[in-house]
């Protein structure tokens, strides 16, 4: 049997499971907040075109609108100024093979629960590698924080000095790109960077280093708690928007169940 047919058979048999890492697109899902005088990412909105009524007697459909960075979404390198000159840096030009990649899932859920400003460090990742092995090249690194389980107020966690949510410190992002050749960085939080990452040096290091080196971002992921530390395959194909900086998308993880 070919590898693909064996894969299909495993899917049918349930020895490979499909886990949805996507939040439902809904108006009330929080969108990243920028200072109000700056441009804002549009939240998800939907207008009914017809629902078996005088506007269309036998059919139901909607028009929707949103930003490229609304809901569970993909960040392309062109999203950040550091990646603006790279080849194939937009969602329509990224090689399609890049939309399938394995994932290493680093569990920071306890640390994040204890401290919403938890930052991922090199020693933390090294300790993870000591247990699960070295991060293979071209792997997604997904930060499991269980943040996707929080209600909106705690999820965004806006205090009087801005948002507070976990994310990576600058050195670890640079290290993951340069020393581990990762494919991209994914989080459950509203962005790939920590809530307070505007104060880091450089600011927003996950964006700065990942996109500056042509790597990708995934954010607002759900259900990372259902993934094994290693061995999951991530399917994350964004919409093919011409020169798109990112896109809402359905993120699926394929996971082998132990026989």
């Amino acid at each position: 049997m070919s590898a693909l047919m064996a894969f299909a058979a495993a899917l049918a048999a349930g020895t490979i499971r499909v886990i949805d890492l996507t939040h439902t697109l809904a108006p009330e899902f929080p969108t990243i907040v920028m200072p109000p005088e700056l441009g804002q990412c549009a939240p998800f909105r939907m207008e009914e075109v017809s629902r078996y009524d005088e506007r269309g007697p036998a059919w139901y459909w909607n028009n929707f609108s949103m930003g490229e960075h609304t809901g569970t979404h993909f960040d392309a390198p062109i999203h950040w100024v550091t990646g603006k000159e790279l080849p194939d840096n937009a969602v329509d030009t990224i090689p399609p093979a890049h939309f399938l990649a394995p994932a290493c899932v680093i569990d920071c859920s306890k640390d994040s629960a204890a401290d919403p400003d938890f930052v991922l460090t090199i020693p933390f990742v090294e300790a993870w590698e000591a247990r699960h092995g070295r991060i293979p090249p071209r792997s997604w690194v997904l930060l499991r924080t269980d943040w996707h389980k929080l209600p909106p107020k705690q999820y965004v966690n806006l205090l009087d000095d801005g948002p507070h949510s976990p994310g990576p410190e600058p050195s670890v992002v640079k290290w993951l790109v340069e020393q581990r050749d990762v494919h991209g960085f994914g989080t459950e939080t509203i962005g790939t960077d920590a809530g307070q990452a505007a104060h880091f040096n450089p600011p927003y290091p996950a964006h700065h280093y990942m996109h500056g080196r042509g790597r990708y971002g995934l954010q607002c992921l759900a259900n990372l708690d259902q993934l094994p530390p290693t061995g999951a395959l991530i399917l994350s194909a964004p919409l093919k928007i011409r020169q798109g900086s990112g896109s809402p998308l359905r993120v699926l993880a394929l996971v082998e169940t132990s026989p």
Partner: protein, 413 residues
């Protein structure tokens, strides 16, 4: 003295809701001079430009000198109630269910005599102050008021038919995140509103004044986002039948003109928040309010728009904002026609720049949100339709009436 209004009992949910009826509402084109005055709470009659004769009812020719130059102008409203009578039955279906109804003959000091509605505290043979009001059909009618304010004057049953007093009414304030919404909530509480629903969009986002807003008497916070059709539909589904006065406090003032703004993102937001927001409110709350225009003491009474006075004429410094406000004004006029069948008024409050962070760089005079809120309550109590609040709004309105082209050039200087 007027008997103070008693808080209405809860309505039996099984009782049929009384259908809104309208008094006869036909006026001549000239007669709409009275409508224009009533809409702004002024008392204006025709005064002959040639012989100075003050006349009523409106005519196209001066009965004294035959001049056709009969402009409306504000005149002294004082007079004497000569005679009164009480109507106990009527063939008119509107008045038939509102009898007994007092009317009387009033002679004004400035000349004309009126057959007018009478406030309950007006006594035959005494001096009165005549006012023009909009009745349920949106037409000007005259009601004689006591010369000096009396206790609970605003609770008079005949007067209340012409006003939108918030007392014992249930109010929806669509946005409590901003200073105007918060001031409006406090003003409505002070005016005796029985419930004040306050919409908050993105409740996960903190905002200044959040704690004190929750302390407003009879306040009830609802999650409401005017940019989200489903949110408006959901809230309307829950409470539209309990809203007697809707005040749209959702605002989005942003500086910038038309040409130099980089792209349409902000313009989209302006139109979505203001114009489409108004349409969503109209579609989801309007029909229910229209159906409840005669639903007892706390019948649906008013849909209030807070508009920039630059809806009337563009202020290029806030050019795109002005254009969005103009769209809202136009929609409000359509809504006014649509709600009129239910006897529900559309009140447009026109204001100049507010003393808020979005007009930070604009020099005074600026209107405080509290002043706008107090003026809104006052306008509802008077039952007017168009209110120009503060120096800037009144100045713009005055200049617009006299020389709009000059105003356009001056605003664009």
């Amino acid at each position: 003295m007027t008997d103070p209004l008693i808080r209405p009992r809860r309505k039996d949910p099984l009782r049929k809701t009384r259908e809104p009826l309208l008094p006869q509402g036909v006026r001549s084109r000239t007669g709409h001079g009275l409508t224009a005055a009533a809409a702004e709470g002024r008392f204006a009659l025709q005064v002959c430009a040639d012989c100075g004769f003050t006349l009523y009812p409106p005519r196209d020719v001066c009965p004294r000198c035959l001049s056709a130059r009969l402009p409306f102008q504000d005149v002294p409203p004082e007079g004497v109630l000569l005679a009164e009578t009480t109507i106990r039955t009527s063939t008119d279906v509107y008045f038939r269910e509102r009898t007994p109804w007092r009317i009387g003959t009033v002679v004004l000091d400035c000349g004309p005599s009126f057959v007018a509605h009478l406030h309950g505290d007006v006594i035959e043979g005494t001096r009165v102050r005549m006012t023009l009001r909009l009745d349920k059909s949106g037409m000007a009618v005259a009601i004689a008021m006591p010369e000096r304010s009396t206790a609970h004057q605003e609770d008079d049953v005949q007067l209340r038919e012409l006003t939108c007093d918030p007392k014992f009414r249930r109010v929806l304030i669509t946005d409590g995140r901003n200073a105007t919404g918060q001031a409006m909530a406090r003003a409505m509480a002070a005016a005796g509103a029985s419930i004040i629903f306050i919409g908050i969009a993105d409740p996960w986002k903190p905002f200044p004044g959040e704690a004190t807003l929750r302390d407003v008497p009879n306040a009830e916070i609802v999650s409401l986002d005017l940019t989200d059709t489903q949110s408006v539909a959901d809230v309307a589904g829950e409470i539209a039948h309990r809203i007697d006065i809707l005040v749209n406090t959702t605002e989005h003032p942003r500086a910038g003109g038309i040409m130099h703004r980089h792209g349409l993102t902000i313009a989209h937001e302006e139109m979505d928040i203001r114009y489409f927001g108004l349409l969503r409110l109209a579609q989801h709350f309007g029909p229910t309010m229209r159906a409840r225009g005669a639903d007892g003491v706390n019948a649906a009474a008013a849909f209030v728009n807070l508009l920039s006075v630059h809806a009337l004429i563009n202020w290029p410094l806030y050019g795109a904002f002005s254009a969005a406000e103009a769209a809202c004004l136009s929609a409000a006029q359509a809504l006014r026609a649509e709600l009129r069948d239910g006897g529900v008024k559309v009140l447009n409050m026109f204001a100049g720049p507010l003393d808020t962070e979005w007009f930070q760089s604009v020099p005074p005079p600026k209107l405080s949100p509290a002043t706008l809120a107090t003026a809104t309550v006052d306008a509802l109590r008077k039952g007017i339709e168009d209110c120009y609040v503060g120096d800037i709004a009144q100045d713009i309105k005055g200049r617009l009436d006299v020389q709009p082209k000059a105003l356009e050039r001056e605003l664009g200087a």
